[in-house]
Assembly symmetry: C2
């Protein structure tokens, strides 16, 4: 079920920055994204098209997308909450659009004031928009099942509800669904169980990515479980940016540096130069001097004799 | 290969405290150990019999052992570096003795000024001592292969060397061997590979426990890999005590609270009441006010609706 390479999707510029108090200047965002790509990061969620009143940190997403799509080989992803966001994403030229659907309807109503039906309607409208575009300009469209491993308002969510949401997102026109452990409630067993169940209804090829948090320290263990189940795309955030915790070490997102270290140690290629990746922390710290950056590997350093994974040879 | 219960061996009073600057008062150690046992911790490494000049934090180990063995049902473990330590452990009445053998001979020489041959001689002498005791007073004797996943001085250690050390410890009279990732160099793949290899030479029943560090954030992922490989005993330290890091979050030992949370979430019984376990942090913090305690779960709190694992029903 496992592969010898994975895709690390860096979400720091979106999930990280939108959860920080301070606003990273546009020029610093561009430098950071450029440096990440130069370190070998192949997919970056660079921002979200949301109301700048609600999230001023994301107000420059259009400009950031236009910068990022000029970087050769980089897959440029954005989060959108609705059709309007998708229109802006398409105008800017994003390669990938993610629409979150909270499987906890209570959370969905509190968070974006929309029922499941209403989110599915947005998904259909976005899909229709994409279909009007010439094929080469159509972004990849992912529906992300958030609070999939439990909700701070509802607790565990009935698996039947999650599967129905997954089916409806695919029927609405998504190219794939993703699983998000928004609350850090997941564990290795629930990870494997839910991945199997969702793949059972949408097909394995339509669930390839997970977005996991490290709220209770299980982030990398959950990544390992998902990898063993055949998942190949993993979201994470440089320096665990975005947790904005009140207590040290309690970051929200899985830390990219530790994630890359784990896979490379395991002999699983990420395509990322770990030293170059870690060096981008300085850019972030300079632009956000009051923000704590997390991660164990950057502090401990790489093991003596560490080589990383061999680059896989493509099959003939 | 997996089981529905595991043994968590708390090493905070030994591995934790011996790496802290401050010395925990004897009375506080006793209260902490009593509270840990009351929370359901079934095995505690309570100290080490080493020179009090080298490790004044461990000077009261004899008294601590004599206290701990009065707690019903608690397995009382100690670390010893040599025959002299084992004699003191036996006199105090410890149930389990662990002798570390660093598979990196460079590390062994620097750390305890002994070659592999010399450590094996100590193991034989300890085994001979144990054989002189009446059967009901014989402690369980473990040889722990430290730096098994790599050494900060030598880098990766040749697997043949590790297997030879494991065989020699068993031949010297150890009841079992353990694997220690002293340096936090291990990853899930190396974990599985080395467990299989060592079990291949000593038998699966003679390698049941691992002692893992969280130096690069992979602690729980490595625990998961070891569990999947059939390992059933896991060392960890309350609050990650013992890392004594210069940077926040960079604890050394796997954090007991997060480890218990992971297994209980997975439906794997630890026998430990997580709330009661987390409450013992206050005892430690009161006794060591300058020490940082780590752990994600204590800060985030338990998930809404969290029930923990069902208690396994013993087979008839």
């Amino acid at each position: 079920m496992t592969t010898n390479s994975v895709l690390i999707s860096e979400v720091g510029p979106r999930d990280g920055l939108q959860n920080c108090q301070a606003i990273m200047p546009t020029a610093a965002k561009k430098r950071w994204i450029t440096a990440l790509a130069a370190a070998g990061v192949k997919e970056i969620e660079v921002g979200s098209f949301v109301s700048p009143k609600l999230l001023p940190q994301m107000a420059d997403t259009g400009e950031i997308v236009r910068h990022a799509i000029e970087i050769p080989g980089l897959e440029v992803a954005v989060l959108v909450p609705n059709l309007k966001g998708a229109q802006l994403a398409v105008e800017a030229g994003a390669h990938k659009i993610t629409l979150p659907l909270s499987v906890s309807e209570t959370h969905s109503l509190r968070n974006i004031r929309r029922t499941h039906d209403q989110v599915i309607d947005e998904a259909k409208a976005i899909s229709d928009l994409i279909q009007t575009l010439p094929e080469e300009r159509r972004p990849h469209f992912e529906g992300s099942l958030s609070t999939a491993f439990g909700c701070t308002l509802e607790g565990p969510i009935d698996e039947a509800v999650i599967l129905r949401c997954a089916e409806r997102l695919m029927a609405a026109g998504c190219d794939e669904v993703g699983l998000s452990d928004t609350t850090g409630y997941g564990d290795p067993m629930s990870m494997k169980r839910l991945i199997r169940a969702v793949r059972g209804v949408v097909g394995a090829e339509n669930l390839t990515g997970v977005h996991l948090h490290n709220t209770r320290g299980l982030g990398l263990a959950n990544v390992l479980a998902a990898y063993e189940e055949g998942i190949t795309t993993f979201d994470s955030s440089l320096g665990g940016l975005g947790g904005c915790p009140t207590a040290p070490g309690a970051s929200g997102n899985v830390v990219t540096e530790d994630l890359v270290f784990m896979f490379e140690s395991m002999g699983v290629d990420t395509g990322i130069d770990l030293e170059a990746l870690m060096a981008t922390r300085e850019l972030v710290q300079a632009a956000l001097p009051d923000e704590d950056l997390y991660g164990f590997t950057p502090r401990a350093g790489l093991p003596l004799g560490f080589k990383g994974a061999p680059v896989p040879v493509a099959a003939e």
